[in-house]
Symmetry: C2
Subunit: 503 residues, 2 copies
């Protein structure tokens, strides 16, 4: 039976969002606000270049103006969109949209500066910054103008707080890859995502600034000049890894600075909400958390194994071996990617161990990358229960995570993440190999991008090399891979499923 014409008209008058379409207004509005913040951040390197009289200040001024213009336009054009009531689908689109837009606008000053970067180079460097990966296409950092160096560090620093907020406020609501384990009772309503994000950003922001300032102070006291100290503090706490020297932290030749970096990188690998709890009178939260325990256990174990290897196989003095081992293990596992030495020369066993650490990553809710510790915890518990169930098929076994039971649904979700990680890793490595990269370069570039670590392996992109020599197409592939990895794969890939757009 056909509907009367009047009813049909009324149906088509319902806004598209309610019929399964997607209202983009509020999403564009939020993107606009973040672009305005980004434009404000561009004023810092502008001032730095002005101070030393480098002409690049005009590049930053122009980029800030353009970014601010776009941001304002987006905000104004979408005034009055209800910000508080987002659907899950809108949040998926918003998350990918914001990270992509911010990455692209961050690339503008890099592309326009006098460094001679191609568009692919500039986007790669910006994405590597925002995602706190730390792979670089630039050499001659020691002679680069201060504005560009500062901008790279600021990108990582902003990306660091960005991923903390995304990990605490947004991904648990989206339930990607088992993140539903981190939902609190008060926070699992998708409508409240934006106010809650702002609230968390401001609560954690203060801590993040304090930790960064402490790191500046320590680096400065240990012999860096104030500019280097500021840059390295920002990229240490964000576990990003950009340096102002081609030789990375190795430039300073200072054991004390390396140990300080170990401490602050590790501090960046801990969930920041635990610091918040510690400050609010619950310091024990820091050492009862299962992610933190596993994180430090793995870090310690790996450092010791590496130390033994360095002493036995490469005849290094014990203390030097311990320092190199702890520094490298922490740098790789937290996804910072600083190098104090060319660990690509250490031999096979360290390479395999570091490859494994890269994949593991740090705690969720921190600035680190990788698959994340909590997924390994869940996987371990699943495997143990599987074993038990083989022996006692009718036994009742309950998995817990920080004292709460893990739903089977969440366990499956975690394991699906591993599968997707392996598949994406293979696909990216295969794509890079098809573009002509050699085995070691293709494999290590794929994992270092997806896990947001930084350096790869081998002579081209290893700790002593850089990504500038790769073909342009490989840089685009890796830029996409870094964003995919940062947003935990599912968040982006779900946008490519037909069901998503059918609503």
């Amino acid at each position: 039976m056909a509907l009367p014409t009047s009813v049909r008209r009324r149906v088509s008058a319902i806004p598209s969002a309610a019929r399964g379409g997607l209202a983009l207004g509020p999403l564009l509005s939020v993107t606009g606000i973040l672009l305005l913040m980004l434009a404000a951040a561009m004023l810092v390197p502008m001032l730095a270049d002005l101070a030393v009289g480098h002409p690049d200040w005009q590049v930053f001024a122009a980029s800030a103006a353009a970014t601010a213009f776009f941001g304002t336009a987006l905000v104004l054009a979408n005034r009055g969109s209800g910000l508080e009531a987002l659907t899950t689908r809108q949040i998926f689109v918003l998350t990918t949209l914001v990270w992509t837009a911010v990455s692209l606008f961050s690339a503008v000053p890099l592309a326009l500066s006098g460094l001679g970067l191609s568009l692919a180079d500039a986007v790669f460097e910006a994405v590597s910054g925002i995602t706190t990966t730390g792979s670089t296409v630039m050499i001659g950092l020691d002679y680069a103008p201060p504005g560009v160096l500062l901008w790279r560090a600021i990108l990582q620093w902003l990306g660091g707080i960005g991923i903390i907020v995304t990990g605490v406020a947004i991904l648990p609501v989206l339930s990607v890859g088992g993140m539903q384990l981190f939902r609190s009772e008060s926070s699992d309503r998708s409508e409240k995502v934006l106010p809650r994000s702002a609230q968390i950003a401001s609560a954690i922001g203060g801590l993040y600034v304090t930790l960064t300032l402490a790191c500046v102070l320590v680096y400065w006291q240990l012999g860096m000049d104030l500019f280097d100290a500021a840059i390295h503090a920002m990229t240490t706490v964000a576990t990003g890894g950009f340096s102002s020297h081609d030789a990375s932290i190795g430039y300073f030749q200072s054991p004390a600075i390396e140990w300080a970096a170990v401490v602050f990188m590790a501090a960046g690998g801990v969930p920041f909400v635990l610091y918040l709890q510690a400050v609010h009178g619950r310091p024990y939260a820091l050492w009862t958390d299962i992610q933190v325990r596993w994180f430090f256990a793995i870090l310690l174990g790996a450092s010791l194994l590496l130390t033994i290897w360095l002493v036995r196989e490469l005849d290094k003095p014990v203390f030097e071996a311990l320092r190199s081992a702890a520094f490298t293990a922490t740098s790789i596992m937290t996804g910072t990617g600083y190098a104090s030495t060319d660990y690509g020369q250490w031999g096979t066993f360290p390479i395999i161990l570091l490859f494994f650490l890269k994949c593991v990553g740090g705690c969720t809710g921190s600035t680190t990358g990788g698959i994340k510790i909590f997924r390994f915890v869940v996987l371990y518990k699943v495997a143990r229960i599987q074993m038990n169930r083989l022996v006692q098929p009718n036994g009742v076994f309950i998995m817990t995570f920080n004292g709460r039971a893990i739903a089977e649904e969440a366990a499956i979700s975690v394991m699906a993440f591993f599968f997707l990680f392996a598949l994406t890793f293979t696909a990216v490595a295969g794509l890079l190999a098809a573009l002509g990269l050699d085995y070691l370069t293709a494999m290590s570039a794929s994992v270092t991008a997806l896990a947001n670590v930084g350096p790869g392996l081998g002579p081209i992109i290893g700790p002593a090399g850089h990504f500038g020599a790769l073909p342009e197409a490989a840089k685009w592939v890796l830029s996409a891979a870094m964003l995919l990895g940062r947003l935990e794969l599912f968040t982006v890939l779900v946008l490519f499923t037909p069901l998503f757009w059918r609503g």
Copy 2:
């Protein structure tokens, strides 16, 4: 309150099995029977060596006598043990026990023969045979006595039917790594495992012999002599890969033989119960099975990609490229491991693709190794449903496998298998690296052993090399890895959990 003495006495009179201990009698008895069969098999190479007058016939005679003696002793010492009522725990022990014992006794003639193999060599070669892996420590195969060559082929042939029976009758009952998906209503009682195994062995045995004879005939018609045809037919159908020539199938320089091998290797990768169904009037079972469809889809896709690569990058003529590609992809994916050419020289992309195919493997219930197609099917379905659930958190999605719903429990079990595979792979590769092997050798040896494929990569263990040059310790590690892989990890590893022995 203490029990009265009389009660306590009665409790301790209960046989240990009932109190959670493990009655070994029936397990040893079954092992004894299988050793008797193995001893009978040793008479074949004995006759071959007698026929050509090679003194090794005495080695086989002595080994057969020793094996038969042990077998008889085990059977006699455990007479009257109830064979029909095994518990799940007993079956776990039995499976590992039988495969280990048969491997070790198979090594005896190899160790005693005039080939100068060390104990580690002989055990490695025997395990590689029984598990249908096909890695070899021997060179100079072209001049080896017929008895030894025949024995290696027989080991793979027996191992092939052994793993089919294990996969169809035993692993589904044990539920290792999602194998519960292959339980039929009539078969999920653990007590009936042994009679059912015998029944399946005899039903499938006829088919297995027929397929092998067909393969002998084809190889013979295409130009092999009857001895080579018999040996290669046994190792083709068992997807084992041992050859009687150092150059493997490449020795024959015959495109027709290579294509024939492709057909029979692929035939060995299909679940043998489907052949049984086809013979009993349900041929459509062969092409409606989801494992078979995925198997051929992946095989075809990989062959085409390799062909394109060979034509474009290495300028091979199209038909030669297609043949090399199809042969290598089928040989690697089914875990046969024959080489028609040194594909280690093809470049990075083929290496990554072949590495992936190695991990995938063939269908469960066939003679192939690897993770197995059905686990990838389940994983794919889980990932797809995860994606859908992200979009519609309250939607109802049902996963099916060959038309039957997949329980969440089975899905978790499958995913735990992937985790364990990755972990075991990393552990074995790390161990090999610590023993001094280089990166490519350690990584590829680990995966080739666990997936029961055969050759590795690189100059030492690649398709043009062999495993003889590895350190003794590495051979022991790899022997263990091959058995672990063949028994789907869990079956062996569960024996090392405390709960297993607490009962």
